[in-house]
């Protein structure tokens, strides 16, 4: 559904995105993560056809990203989406429905259905009088006005309270379940981890790692083993009447088992613990820093 090939964006001497390559399958929720200034937003805007790449190409829904026709299949939600505050949600959404060539009857139905789903009341109130969360819901409704196949959401829950944030994350999950392809960027890696099928990690304009969470964890994460024994072995600590030793490989687990047997005891439990996406992300960032330093 989305193909990005060596996307590069320069602003004068500054390289915002340097050779970003990834693909997103139909119905997939794809996350783009990275620290501030990593090039996430620029990448999303290149996909949305808002920013022209200096080099490289991107296709979205089968169209070149710079093709205006592509936009009829896209719902784009920028990180900041200040609305026309003198308008009401209904007039605002109707206006955009017209621009997307949505027939009047369809538009009316879709607007009310979406606002119902988003539980947005006060539809005749001016947008300027609404809370930030309500405005964000209107912005999301606008991104759905053309019933797009692809959604590009840049920090959809940025700056919102936890309740609204959870609501929007769940709503995004629901959109993915309905078959929409979602490209999603967020600082909150817990959100990404909870809804994304695959992610690309960006740093300083480059996409430094990509894949599903398992692949990333395998490559950049750490799996630790908590080995519980009945007797004390070197490196273990007493815990609830048992001894726990933390090791980082199966070989070490076997060595612990042998040590316990020689001490007249046995291994009673082994638990594994895998890195979170946040830890993976920090590992990737650290490894790049070390590589540059070295």
């Amino acid at each position: 559904m989305i193909e990005a090939q060596n996307l590069r964006k320069e602003y004068g001497d500054f390289v915002a995105v340097d050779g970003s390559t990834f693909s997103v399958q139909d119905g997939e929720v794809f996350g783009i993560i990275g620290p501030n200034g990593a090039g996430k937003t620029t990448t999303l805007k290149m996909l949305a056809g808002l920013v022209e790449p200096t080099a490289g190409e991107a296709t979205v829904a089968g169209y070149d990203a710079n093709d205006r026709e592509m936009r009829t299949h896209l719902g784009f939600l920028p990180e900041e989406s200040p609305l026309y505050e003198e308008m009401t949600p209904l007039s605002y959404l109707s206006f955009f429905a017209d621009l997307y060539d949505v027939p009047d009857g369809v538009a009316d139905r879709r607007i009310h259905e979406t606002l119902d789903e988003l539980e947005l009341e006060h539809r005749e109130r001016q947008l300027g009088d609404m809370s930030k969360g309500m405005k964000r819901k209107v912005a999301i409704a606008r991104s759905l006005i053309n019933d797009p196949a692809v959604l590009i959401y840049d920090e959809p829950a940025s700056g919102l309270d936890p309740l609204t944030t959870n609501y929007i994350i769940e709503f995004t999950e629901q959109l993915a379940r309905e078959g929409k392809t979602v490209v999603f960027s967020a600082h909150n890696l817990f959100h990404v981890e909870s809804i994304c099928d695959r992610v690309v990690i960006m740093n300083e304009g480059e996409s430094v790692a990509r894949g599903d969470l398992d692949e990333l964890q395998a490559e950049y994460g750490e799996t630790t083993y908590h080995v519980y024994t009945t007797v004390e072995v070197p490196g273990s600590v007493r815990e609830n009447g048992r001894y726990r030793r933390v090791v980082e490989s199966m070989d070490a687990v076997e060595r612990t088992r042998e040590a316990a047997r020689q001490a007249g005891g046995s291994v009673v439990d082994i638990r594994t613990e895998e890195s979170s996406l946040e830890e993976v992300f920090l590992n990737v960032a650290d490894s790049r820093k070390r590589r540059r330093g070295g």
Binding site: G49, P78, L99, Y100
Partner: protein, 654 residues
């Protein structure tokens, strides 16, 4: 561009802003419009009548001067007043039979001076009613206003059928005592009487008559006369009689004031328009419109259309209103058509300014600059409406002439309206180059924005289109490169209207300086033309549209020079109205001059300018390919070469 979406955006712009206007704002707008409507008839009536009822005159209905005084609103008639009233200051003038008495104080003396003028006008009016005009005005003077050329011809005054002018005959000696006859041309006499300080006969001196006959006027464009419409003096229109003092320079003051009414609303219009454009850029409000499936041209067109139509609606009201008041009939179509490019020019300049401004504070500066500059552009040349063709630089001149019921040829109309129209196109085009995510929402420097705007129409070397995507890669590469060079030449050509307007403005401002004006115009020409040919080339190197190199730079110089050369021929328009008859016009619009013999025509009209533009553009392009400082040096060098050419080739022809 999709008209349906453009209109939808236009309607959205109207309803969105209409929803934001409260009743108080509407009330204020209504009051302003009402005042506007009130002031216009007052202007037409010769002012707001500040002098009305200024002087009190003691006079009885039996006095022969009664109708004279009663008809002048400056005076208030006080029948039955006597010397005691004059002494107490209750009246400024007191008639006793055919003599008038006044006191030796400033107001009384001023009242007397005013009375003399009133009497003189009254007498002239009476003489005009005479059936035997020759008897009434035995002296006939033909006035012919000549266009100012390089040599500065002086106006020629012909004495045609001179007769015995009504010599003054009423000089009366001032008497001591109460009565003081004041003669024509003299200050009111003063006496040292006991009660009053002087008296006089206001008819004295009114006897001189001058009959002005024959055609008159500066003959703009051949058939247009001075056409002062009785505005600047009785001698200047159908009322061709009066005293020599009535001969006034051909300055269409009232028509100018009325024409200025067309410009006033534009200054308010651009405030609102600039705000709506900038508001799209503040806090990224316009980002979602850019992300929607509409082109930026739909957005710009949609946002501009209501302001253009609104402006034209206002101008229509003014045009129709003025014609009804001035001529008592519907009209003003020509005025309206002439003002339309001006409306677009104001909007175009504001659009570009709003795309450059980074805050509302900067926008204020921009709109004030536009107001001053464009109002000057429209108004200053129009002052010379009755002097020379140079006035046609401004479309407002057409309005003035239309108000005076003068004929306007198609050539004159085109000459006046094409430059602002094309210039507005350049402004909108440059602004559209900035109407994209990368330029709208950041806080880049003005220089950076200018370069972005200029480089916008030049495609990237690696860019692809539906056509090139289907072609052989090598052919596609050549095609893309060719498109780049064509775009550079085309952009140069697009900037011609701007160059043209600057040159015309320079001519208008400098033509009165005599010999030096020619040199100054040539300097301006060299500067503006070299900048127009090279700035976008520099921008394209800065934005890496081209790889720096001597061959590339030279090719770009050729592309830009050729583009300029072809577009410069738009100056031919100038010949339609004879502006090059002015030496400075000829120098400034050298591209439009067609010398006599064919060989010379080819050499001077075609070959020499082509070589000049290519060479100087190449010089600048080579500098532009090597950096900012080198570009500056190369640009100066190109200007010097251009100036040297102007001073030799052009001066020789002129």
């Amino acid at each position: 561009m999709t008209p349906r979406k453009l209109l939808r955006i236009a309607w959205w712009e109207v309803t969105r802003n209409a929803g934001g206007i409260d009743r108080r704002t509407l009330a204020v707008a209504f009051v302003i419009l009402a005042l506007f409507g009130l002031v216009t008839p007052l202007l037409l009536d010769g002012g707001v009548g500040l002098d009305d009822g200024l002087y009190r005159v003691g006079i009885d209905e039996s006095s022969p001067y009664y109708p004279v005084v009663a008809d002048d609103e400056t005076f208030v008639v006080r029948p039955g007043a006597d010397r005691a009233d004059l002494r107490n200051g209750d009246v400024e003038l007191l008639f006793e039979g055919a003599t008038v008495q006044f006191r030796d104080n400033p107001k009384s003396l001023a009242a007397y001076g005013e009375l003399r003028g009133t009497v003189e006008r009254f007498n002239n009016e009476q003489l005009r009613l005479e059936e035997n005009g020759t008897a009434a005005f035995p002296v006939s003077v033909l006035l012919e206003y000549r266009q100012r050329g390089g040599g500065g011809d002086s106006p020629r005054i012909e004495d045609d059928d001179a007769g015995d002018g009504g010599a003054s005959d009423g000089t009366g000696p001032a008497d001591d005592g109460e009565v003081d006859d004041a003669g024509p041309g003299d200050d009111p006499g003063s006496g040292d009487g006991e009660e009053t300080d002087g008296t006089g006969d206001p008819t004295d001196g009114g006897g001189s008559g001058t009959g002005g006959t024959g055609d008159r006027g500066p003959s703009l464009g051949g058939d247009s006369g001075g056409g002062l419409g009785g505005i600047s003096g009785p001698l200047s229109d159908d009322q061709v009689s009066g005293s020599p003092a009535d001969i006034s320079p051909p300055f269409p003051f009232q028509s100018l004031v009325l024409a200025f009414l067309f410009v006033i609303p534009l200054n308010f219009l651009i405030q609102a328009y600039g705000s709506t454009i900038l508001s799209e850029r503040i806090n990224r409000r316009g980002e979602l419109l850019l992300a929607s499936p509409v082109s930026r041209f739909d957005i710009i067109g949609g946002k501009t259309l209501p302001y253009f139509l609104g402006g034209m609606a206002l101008e229509s009201v003014i045009a129709i209103g003025l014609f009804v008041v001035v001529h008592g009939e519907l009209g003003g179509v020509v005025s309206l058509l002439a003002v339309a490019p001006l409306v677009l020019l104001f909007l175009g300049a504001t659009f570009l300014g709003a795309m450059f401004a980074r805050s509302f504070k900067e926008l204020t500066f921009v709109t004030v600059t536009i107001t001053v500059t464009l109002t000057s552009y429209a108004f200053v040349p129009a002052i010379f409406t009755d002097v020379g063709a140079v006035a046609l630089i401004s479309p407002l001149t057409l309005v003035v002439r239309d108000l005076q019921n003068e004929a306007i040829t198609l050539g004159e109309f085109t000459f006046s309206t094409a430059p602002p129209l094309l210039c507005s196109g350049v402004f909108f085009g440059l602004g559209a180059g900035l109407y994209r995510e990368e330029d709208m929402f950041d806080q880049r420097s003005l220089r950076g924005r200018l370069l972005d705007a200029l480089v916008g129409p030049i495609p990237r070397a690696g860019g692809s289109s539906r056509l090139t995507a289907r072609l052989d890669p090598y052919v596609a590469l050549d095609l893309r490169t060719a498109r780049q060079y064509v775009a550079v030449g085309g952009l140069t050509a697009t900037l011609i209207p701007f160059v043209f307007v600057v040159q015309l403005l320079a001519i208008a401002l400098l033509f009165a300086l005599g010999e030096i004006s020619l040199i100054l115009v040539l300097v301006v020409v060299a500067i503006i033309e070299e900048i127009a040919k090279s700035l976008h080339v520099y921008a394209s190197f800065q934005h890496r549209r081209f790889e720096p190199g001597l061959k590339t730079a030279l090719a770009l110089g050729v592309a830009s020079g050729v583009g300029f050369f072809f577009a410069e021929k738009i100056a031919l328009l100038a010949q339609l109205v004879g502006l090059p008859e002015l030496a400075v016009g000829e120098a400034g619009l050298q591209g439009g001059i067609v010398p006599g013999p064919f060989a010379l025509t080819v050499a001077l009209f075609l070959l020499a300018p082509l070589v000049l533009h290519v060479v100087t553009a190449a010089i600048s392009a080579v500098g532009a390919s090597r950096g900012k400082r080198q570009y500056g040096i190369a640009l100066c060098l190109a200007m010097l070469v251009h100036l040297a050419y102007n001073l030799t080739v052009v001066m020789a022809v002129v």
